[in-house]
Subunit: 206 residues, 2 copies
């Protein structure tokens, strides 16, 4: 929907650039879902996206940065941060949205790549670390707003809070292999709020 007339060539170039980027990142996720990280090459991805290998290398220095970008990009789209004015509904939405992501085909591919792959491929451990740091920091404003509204204690550590929220969901996915549903999400949200209110999630710096 670029209607600007002053620089039509540039706008078209930007549009084309965004299309290439989207196509390459989508191809990366599809490739991960099908064959896993170990088998992923820039060649595979370029072929699948219908672009030249050099086009990929102009934007991403190696397959690791490609995978990080694909995952980060997808998660940014999948998990919009709620701002309903209440910690209960914000957290319920966050937790349900995590459950929806983790039970989707793409979510399974991402998790498979990051968690199982990390044991065998050292680069993946770093991707995972960056992914979760990013995921947690994106969620922190939700917690800060709740603190500002007086819904959570002032010394609540946002990162600890987010980890407490997501922990029971990942436990079921990775450890006990139980089904994930909205009841699991809602219980996780209520538990995290209760833990914070009891002072169990206060930060190291008061």
């Amino acid at each position: 929907m670029l209607t600007e007339k002053a620089a039509p060539t540039t706008s078209r170039q930007i549009g084309r650039g965004q299309k290439v980027r989207s196509a390459v990142l989508a191809a990366t996720l599809a490739q991960l879902g099908e064959d896993g990280y170990a088998a992923l090459t820039v060649d595979n991805v370029a072929q699948r996206a219908g672009v030249n290998k050099t086009t990929v290398y102009r934007r991403w220095k190696d397959r690791e940065s490609l995978v990080v970008d694909a995952i980060t990009d997808r998660i940014a789209v999948d998990v919009p941060m709620p701002d309903t004015g209440s910690i209960h509904s914000d957290l319920g939405r966050l937790a349900r949205s995590l459950v929806a992501t983790l039970t989707s085909a793409t979510g399974q591919a991402i998790i498979g790549t990051m968690l199982v792959g990390a044991a065998h491929v050292p680069e993946i451990a770093e991707i995972r670390r960056r992914f979760f740091a990013d995921r947690i920091s994106r969620t922190e404003p939700v917690i800060r707003r709740a603190v500002q509204r007086g819904e959570l204690p002032e010394d609540t550590d946002p990162a600890e809070f987010v980890k407490t929220l997501i922990a029971p969901i990942y436990l079921r996915l990775l450890v006990t292999a139980e089904p994930l549903d909205e009841a699991v999400a809602d219980r996780a949200a209520r538990s995290a709020i209760a833990a914070a209110r009891a002072g169990a999630l206060s930060g190291p710096r008061l």
Copy 2:
């Protein structure tokens, strides 16, 4: 310390039987730790334990039951159930003992086998399911006693409680790859108690 004199041969046989069992299960864990589940064979284990392959097959029908027994046995030894008379100290001990197990060499071998192996070897998923069901049910009496003492709400679901306790510990081990220490254990214990007291961990049957 079998001092009974009436049936010396039988006692010696029992003693010998227990020694063989211990040696085979210890060899199984050592083998898992070194080469992982995929490479484990009854032959390897028998050789390492210094017993005949037929001796192993007399007690265990296949390598899957051997691995399940080795893991279950080890965990029973590693995690004695506390009964201090207070939910705070019981849970603190449980959580610290889980952290100690998960950071030990044997614990790493077990977790590596059960969680990473589960993605590639179907039998492992079932071992994992049985292991965690066993682990959770062993812990339930601790929760029941706390309910009887009036420290937790009557409708607290023991399995949900245990999962809430262990979830932040496994999250750090498997997802965020952060170090595990006693502070993590203590925070997990306080969070689970707070969640239960707020009614977030009540069972489906009231």
